[in-house]
Symmetry: C2
Subunit: 268 residues, 2 copies
């Protein structure tokens, strides 16, 4: 493939630009974004040239949609006419069911594969971009597309094949629930004056709470039944742990928790 068009050159889009340029797998990296953001992406070497959406799309062999979920949803409604027949289109949106449904409705000339690299940072925008961002991180693909699997591997990611509904159910547990727990903990403690007696544990547990609702609103709204059920499940778990502390059986919770945590650290 010759040309990749990255729509949205923020943290993920610019990191993808840096990573494909390092891997040397495209001749041209075209950026479509607001003037300041795409200028910064060019400055850091993530993008070769800025174009408007209408200019960029016909040049694309691969289109990467790297905007928030609802922006991707609205883009999908108006891409198709501008694309060459058979262009590969993917995205990095954090939820997949609504995006894949919209793509299957609106994209008739191109091949869409939903994507979700499990990578991120609190620093948004091209300022936080790194060619290393995807290295050794899972990158979910909703279809077994050979070309895209090669590209994900070339930027260091680990392709994971998962249908859109299954993806959304899983990330409610692995990503959305941890975010909401961190937010709830930070919110709960905000009037408790704990800062002078806190250690590294509380710091870790509230890092995600730095994330802004701007970023999360789309994600949570496009995955609400799964998110609601994950919170409900965690509340039950906490009620169970509370009872176990009273009956002296909390050790089982610590064992299960330690085992999951150790497993994550072994990359199992």
């Amino acid at each position: 493939m010759r040309t990749v068009v990255i729509i949205g050159t923020g943290l993920l889009g610019s990191s993808f630009g840096l990573a494909v340029k390092r891997a040397g797998i495209f001749d041209w990296v075209v950026g479509v974004s607001s003037p300041a953001v795409v200028a910064k992406a060019i400055e850091i070497g993530a993008v070769d040239v800025a174009m408007t959406l209408e200019e960029a799309l016909p040049t694309a062999d691969l289109v990467l949609l790297a905007q928030p979920v609802k922006r991707i949803l609205s883009l999908l409604e108006r891409l198709d006419l501008h694309l060459r027949l058979g262009t590969l289109v993917t995205d990095v949106g954090s939820t997949k069911a609504e995006i894949c449904a919209a793509a299957s409705t609106f994209l008739t000339r191109s091949t869409f594969v939903g994507g979700h690299p499990m990578a991120g940072k609190e620093i948004r925008g091209p300022e936080g971009a790194s060619a290393e961002l995807f290295v050794d991180r899972p990158w979910v693909l909703t279809e077994p597309n050979e070309a895209l699997i090669s590209i994900v591997e070339a930027v260091g990611g680990k392709p994971v094949l998962l249908g859109p509904e299954e993806h959304d159910r899983m990330v409610a547990f692995s990503s959305h629930l941890p975010q909401l727990l961190s937010t709830a903990l930070g919110s709960y403690l905000s009037d408790k004056q704990v800062t002078s007696v806190s250690g590294p544990g509380l710091r870790d547990m509230t890092r995600l709470a730095l994330s802004s609702f701007d970023l999360w609103q789309d994600i949570l709204e496009t995955n609400s039944p799964n998110v609601d059920s994950a919170i409900a499940g965690l509340i039950s778990e906490l009620e169970g742990l509370r009872s176990a502390l009273k009956s002296g059986t909390a050790g089982e919770y610590f064992e299960r928790g330690a085992s999951l945590s150790a497993g994550l650290r072994q990359g199992q």
Copy 2:
């Protein structure tokens, strides 16, 4: 002061040994611990000499009790007779109300000040020890003792004066609740097969879950009413967030959470 006796030369005891030796504030660091643990503490240079409890206590100008809370409670019942009049005794136990009550019952010849350095690691034992462990970390003291404040400052800690009951109420929020949340999250996800779709957020949120119940049992049992009420409060917060997600007002939770988290990072 000439001699510090450290009872329990695990992570905290050995780190204290390394830190006071670097600061040069004692002539002798005596370790009392099980043979293997004290041998390791000597090997890493945290302790000069190993003694039995009965040998060590009469030599002490300062005694540091660095064992789990219930071991400290039982030690307090039998220290007094062996100490010289006026010896300063402190501890690093994670809860303070029961320990300070026991000290005031059983220590009549010595001066007891409860202590709690807000520092730790998942690596237990002298193997994890570091002279840096206390640097810039809060170190709660239950009484305004000048000598002890100087020692805490000499090892890099930030003395925080807090009564034992107030301490226990605060750490239920700042330390015990984050631990239990991490454990509950890990336990809840242990049958959900999330490992292949997880990112750095879940890793952070489950780091504390690696801690063992061995270490936590004493802490949670000696602070159970505060811990129970902190869990109940967090459950209410999660129920509130769940409703807010449905009514479109979750942004407030994100703002409060981000503000607490940013405050912790500014050391406010």
